[in-house]
Amino acid sequence: MSPILSVKDATKRYSTPEGGTITALDGVSLDVQPNEFVTLLGPSGCGKTTLLRTISGFEDLEGGSIEIDGATVTHLPAHRRPVNTVFQRYALFPHLSIARNVAYSLEVAGLKRAEIGSRVGEMLELVGLDGFGDRKINQLSGGQQQRVALARSLVARPKILLLDEPLSALDKNLRQKMQQELKTLQEEVGIAFVFVTHDQEEALTMSDRVAVLSDGKIQQFGTPEDLYRRPRNEFVARFLGAGNLLGATVSECKDAGAIALLESGQVAHLPSTDAACGEKIKLLIRPEDVRMDCTKDAGALRFEGTVRQVLFVGTDYIVHIETDDGTELKATLRPRAEDRGAITAPGARITLFVQQEALHPVTSAKVA
């Protein structure tokens, strides 16, 4: 399948008022398949919004190219690109009714009145706002405005829908509801969505693939599970989810894996690593992979230490322990009823285990 969107080597710099320059995009390449839900994720200032704005045509690239459905659009003005955008604050036209907002792209394209009417009706029904057409924008709640924005940008049947943090203005419950609705909507209309967010949970929940950006570069581009379980570097590991990163040195490289020596002196067998022998790396251990019971795996890492802090979050306990060699470890534990007493008191002694399979080596170097 040929990609619907193909960004090659995109580069963009801004000059600051002080006379310096900021590199917002530094050779970014990205392919998006038709029907794919892709999220651009990163901290603010990482270049994700700039990337979106170069695809929509609001920013001009300095280098590189953008192709949409096989056609080069790199220097095409925004109004001639077959993409539409849902803006962060929706940018709905305040002087127009909801129906006229949705109809806008069809009206400027000069479609016949009857066709505009039927397509706007269909769209409003799709987003669950049929019967709201005559209302004014300021008569709607945030969630409803969100849906109008979606309807408005989908009615022209774009090849790609771009979404610039559209859920950030909503409260938490509504946001979760809209996440599901967005995903359903995307499957229904069957076009590619490119979604920008700084919320990692949102990215993991909705996307087929996620591109993690930092310093104007894509650090990793893969499925949510890939990113979470097998982050390529320390930045991705830290940005997605909570985790323990323990310092280690690769001591032995074999065909079937490697052996790493932890700073605490423990030995870990790794399935494979890109790191060279003798290189300093970090071992990622997700808190939910830390266990209380002894595993059958003979090579499991064993941590003995003292409970420092316990947070009860409903089903689980988030436990911070300090091992006897001074390593700090965060664990999400769900102890059996009879074991609960052992962890709930700070200061208690505890022994925790981590299986070999749960260890993932990451390098500290970012993609440069």
Partner: protein, 307 residues
């Protein structure tokens, strides 16, 4: 309950105290003269000035079409002057709008420091007396003035244009005087314009022209209407600009009123003319208020829904 009552009473009292002085002031110095004008406009003019206390509708008749048949035929000269004043005022509104709209756009997109500097420049003319500034325009517009000299120097014209003491001169002068009044309300609504609306419009396929016509113009309409009214009202009744730059050739309704009160000493007729100006302005304001209340209804409806 009691505590709230007294605190509310105190609030009422302080409100009354704050509102009383301006109310009394306006009552004495605005309503009273206005009432005198209204009454005078229905009285017969005395032979040597002053008024005769008889009901007399021919002050309005002289303007609108029924004259005192014993002495004269109806002469539409006053209606012509009135309509010319409306035309000159409308031209002034249009010209200042065309000048201010792009300027307001340009200034509103500047960095803060430069913006403030330009806003200061806009108000700078207020620092010099209006009459002095208008006489400066006489020096610019007269046949041997700066403008004609310059145009002849660069060879655009062979002989001086006849500018001074024409409608054009009056419109130029009034536009010059009222530009700050047009600029400020325009600027207020243009600065509020959310640029993401413009981007959204382009994103949805609109060309620059379509975006301007369908989005920018309607969204900034309150500023356009507000500025137009604020310029139209003083332009319509203006008499300083036409008397300095229009000389004896261009008479506006303001000059006519001045003449009736000061030289002709026909106060009732002058009052009737004044009432005409006020009626025109009130009509305009009523249309404006109607438009604004409709806007208001939408926003209150929204607020009710939120709560």
């Amino acid at each position: 309950m009691v505590g709230r009552d007294t605190s509310q009473g105190r609030k009422m009292l302080s409100l009354l105290g704050l509102l009383a002085p301006p109310t009394v002031f306006l009552g004495v110095f605005f309503i009273t003269p206005l009432a005198i004008m209204v009454i005078y406009s229905f009285l017969e003019p005395g032979l040597y000035g002053g008024v005769v206390w008889n009901f007399y509708d021919l002050n309005y008749g002289r303007i609108l079409g029924w004259a005192d048949t014993r002495y004269e035929k109806f002469d539409p000269v006053y209606l012509t002057i009135f309509l010319r004043s409306v035309r000159l005022a409308l031209t002034t509104v249009l010209l200042s709008l065309v000048i201010c709209y792009p300027a307001a756009f340009w200034i509103s997109r500047m960095p803060q420091g430069r913006k403030n500097f330009f806003l200061f420049l806009i108000t700078l003319p207020f620092f010099v007396s209006l009459v002095v500034r208008l006489f400066a325009w006489v020096l610019i517009l007269r046949p041997t003035g700066f403008l004609n000299q310059a145009l002849m120097e660069i060879g655009m014209i062979a002989e001086p244009l006849n500018l001074i003491f024409t409608d054009t001169a009056v419109v130029i002068g009034m536009t010059y005087v009222f530009i700050p009044f047009m600029f400020l309300p325009l600027y207020a609504s243009i600065e509020k314009l959310d640029m993401s609306l413009v981007e959204a419009s382009a994103d949805l396929g609109a060309t620059r022209l379509q975006t301007f016509r369908r989005i920018i113009l309607p969204v900034t309409l309150p500023g356009i209407v507000g500025g137009s009214i604020i310029v139209f009202i003083p332009s319509l009744g203006n008499f300083i600009v036409p008397s300095v730059l229009g000389g004896a050739k261009v008479m506006m309704i303001g000059n006519l009123i001045e003449q009736q009160f000061l030289s002709a000493r026909n106060w009732p007729f002058g009052s009737a003319l004044g009432m005409m100006v006020m009626a025109a302005v009130l009509l305009l304001l009523m249309i404006y208020v109607r438009m604004m209340t409709r806007e208001e209804e939408y926003s209150t409806a929204a607020k009710v829904k939120e709560s």
